[in-house]
């Protein structure tokens, strides 16, 4: 953590009463509280009053999201032997394995602009980010029990930071993608500029799934054991290692309701310079936004009792 010295941001409630130096201490009445607000700064309501979204709190505590993300990143890289290398090894070896198995045996047709290794790696890049994000965020609330029971802040930031920290892994693993793209001679096209859009959608999808699963895990601990199966199922139900085109027509709808499909197809279309399947992308984006809204609501609803049940 670097020492920040630019006065860039100031919190909306930072206009706290000025502290008089010790030498000129006045009696308590006279000092600080002439400026107490008329309306309460915080009104703690009972469980009976229902869900409060508290969007203002998220904004007020936004710097904490940064610090928690930074913590997760630092802690992750501090005590590993190979450090950064792991981040590359995981998707790279999976890609090599799948290339060996599927490309030699199954002979998927992934189009001329996108040879199978590049196809598989681009899919695995987003998939690794997504699945790690969901897995890390699921355990995050329980491993931060000491924070949840001792201090208030928007709890949403804990799983969000766990996912955010994965962006560093993603950035590092992307270097291999760049190398592969150069090796296979991917043409520089305007479509490439849309790559970040699909990364962003993956991030939102990870956030939606992560918030939902982590909130439920606090209450239903055995979800943790179910999660690996669900993640694996999701991998095979998404066109990560196989092209969507091999799926028979009557099963296509299954791919369409999976929000990851549009994201992966879009990402690859941008990479290969193909035309975008906009209806598919828009459906996926809408599903992701819907999932995020649902996750947000469920999380807020259960958040208030975390400290009691964790």
């Amino acid at each position: 953590m670097d020492l920040p010295n630019s006065e860039t941001t100031s919190r909306h409630f930072e206009a706290a009463p000025a502290i008089s130096p010790r030498a000129e201490i006045k009696p308590p009445e006279a000092t600080a509280h002439a400026s107490l607000p008329d309306a309460p700064l915080v009104l703690i309501k009972s469980e009976e009053t229902g869900v409060q979204l508290n969007l203002g709190d998220l904004w007020a505590y936004r710097e904490l999201l940064y610090f928690l993300t930074l913590r997760d990143i630092k802690v992750r890289y501090k005590q590993t032997l190979l450090g950064v290398a792991w981040v590359i090894i995981q998707p790279l070896f999976t890609m090599l394995l799948f290339t060996l198995v599927f490309n030699r045996l199954a002979q998927f047709d992934t189009g001329p602009a996108l040879p199978y290794p590049l196809f598989a790696y681009s899919g695995l890049l987003l998939w690794t980010f997504l699945s790690n994000g969901v897995i890390n965020s699921t355990g995050s609330l329980i491993s931060n029990t000491n924070l949840i029971t001792k201090v208030y802040f928007p709890r949403m930031f804990i799983p969000a930071a766990a996912i955010g920290a994965g962006l560093v892994d993603l950035a590092i693993a992307s270097l291999i993608l760049v190398a592969l793209a150069l090796y296979y001679g991917v043409a520089l096209m305007w479509g490439l500029l849309l790559l970040p859009l699909f990364v962003g959608l993956t991030l939102l999808l990870a956030l939606g799934t992560g918030l939902l699963v982590s909130a439920l895990t606090v209450k239903y601990r055995d979800l943790r054991h179910v999660l690996p199966f669900m993640i694996q199922f999701w991998l095979f139900a998404s066109p990560v290692i196989y092209p969507a085109s091999i799926v028979p027509e009557r099963w296509r709808w299954l791919l369409a309701v999976n929000p990851l499909t549009g994201v992966l197809e879009g990402f690859r279309a941008a990479l290969a310079g193909r035309g975008f399947d906009w209806p598919m992308i828009i459906i996926s984006a809408a599903l992701i936004v819907g999932l995020l809204a649902l996750a947000f609501y469920v999380f807020r609803r259960t958040e208030d009792t975390f400290a009691d049940v964790i």
Binding site: S10, P28, E29, L36, I44
Partner: protein
């Protein structure tokens, strides 16, 4: 004046059904979905039959800016739950709390510290978790590090710190919070004496700045010394609210079941035998006032009233003092010449032992009272264990043995002694 905290009708209920309170499994939920419609029919009458515990019940409290409020009570009385609600960690089941200022809560030392991160990194992380902005932490960083006295280790991961260093750094971060409302739970019980002194000074400073502090502690002398208002909690309710000395006394009375005065109105219940019997014991001032809190600088007396039932025995009342820790401080018996070796005629007697000021240390004490014969042979006639309880209080006027020091002073005695200091030759 406008209050800074207003707690209205707050209650908190915990469910304690089953093996794990409030802990379910996904399996339970799936099962629940299937059986729920039937269950509702079946259990509609007994749906509240699940065991519940009211950790807080109908709490109403108004706090003015600048108050330093000590909260005392037995374990499980609801102190921590109240702090958790005030610091927004958990929500009340009913009622509401209005906070007219920023809240900072210190329910443990080192909230948010991560062992792998360096001291510097942890200052920023913990500061942010406790509610400081990045700019604010950066501005106070030098001050925080200086206060902790561990400058040379600030770039070392805190897992290599000694526990003392860890606590210092953690408290320093917390001490530099500037909320209008500060909520503290026993965090003063850390560090060595010199550091505790710094912490107490800091609390004084915070109070002087007009901030409001809630302070839960089992340290009664600290409560009476620092606070101007104390709350006593029992079974989720506030049962005492007032001056710390009074509330602390009520608490001790409720936990020891004794006060500063004991009257045995029923002769058959009074401790004694056929020779002598206790009637009344009390702690009093020189002005003949019964007191439960005595000024450390003032002489006070323990007055024992007793009946001698059979003439012709040599008697001596004995008073033993025991402190909170169970340490026997001292015991004393009547060495006055008048009745020392005189067989006494039957009748009522009043003996008072005068304890000089500046002898006992601050704290809570109980006195055991006995009536004995030492002559010709030793014999115990009456004995009352924990007869009366009282506190010795130092209100820090500067003329007690504390002088200007406000931190913890160990020892069961606190004599005010004569010191001389001479400057040596400089050559």
């Amino acid at each position: 004046m406008k209050p800074i905290v207003k707690i209205e009708n707050v209650s908190k209920r915990y469910r304690i059904g089953g093996l794990h309170p409030g802990f379910f499994t996904f399996r339970d939920m799936l099962g629940g979905v299937i059986t729920a419609p039937f269950k509702r029919l079946r259990d509609s009458a007994s749906s509240d039959g699940r065991q519940t515990l009211w950790a807080l019940k109908d709490i109403d409290l108004t706090v003015q800016p600048g108050e330093l409020i000590g909260i005392i009570g037995h374990n499980g009385a609801g102190k921590s739950t109240l702090l958790k609600i005030l610091s927004r960690i958990t929500k009340p089941t009913t009622g509401q709390v209005a906070l007219y200022g920023r809240v900072g809560s210190l329910l443990e030392v080192g909230t948010g510290f991560h062992p792998e991160l360096t001291g510097r990194e942890n200052v920023f992380l913990s500061g942010a978790i406790l509610g400081m902005s990045r700019v604010e932490i950066a501005r106070k960083f030098a001050e925080i590090v200086a206060f902790s006295e561990i400058e040379q280790f600030i770039e070392t991961p805190v897992k290599f710190y000694s526990s003392g260093m860890y606590v210092r750094l953690a408290f320093s971060v917390a001490a530099h919070l500037e909320p209008e409302i500060l909520i503290m739970d026993e965090v003063l019980a850390v560090g060595d004496a010199a550091f505790q002194q710094k912490c107490l000074d800091k609390m004084h400073e915070i109070r002087q700045q007009g901030r409001t502090i809630f302070f839960v502690s089992h340290n009664m002398p600290a409560i009476t010394r620092l606070c101007r208002r104390a709350l006593l909690m029992e079974r989720g309710q506030i049962v005492g609210d007032g001056l710390p000395q009074q509330v602390v006394n009520d608490y001790l009375r409720s936990s020891w079941q004794i006060g500063a005065e004991r009257d045995w109105t029923d002769d058959t219940q009074a401790p004694g035998n056929e020779i002598a019997r206790l009637c009344r014991v009390r702690v009093r001032t020189e002005e003949d006032e019964t007191v439960s809190a005595v000024d450390i600088r003032r002489t006070f007396g323990v007055e024992v009233i007793y009946d001698v039932l059979a003439s012709g025995h040599v008697l001596s009342p004995v008073v033993e003092f025991v402190n909170e820790a169970g340490t026997q401080v001292f015991s004393t018996h009547d060495t006055g010449t008048e009745w020392r070796r005189q067989p006494r005629p039957a009748g009522r007697y009043t003996s008072i032992v005068w304890i000089p000021g500046n002898l006992l240390a601050e704290g809570s004490l109980v006195a055991h009272i006995s009536l004995m014969s030492h002559f010709p042979t030793t014999r115990m006639h009456a004995h009352s264990r924990n007869a009366v309880a009282f506190q010795v209080i130092d209100n820090q006027a500067g003329d007690s043995a504390r002088g200007d020091y406000l931190g913890p002073l160990p020892g069961v005695m606190r004599p005010l002694l004569e010191w001389t200091t001479q400057k040596g030759n400089d050559e």
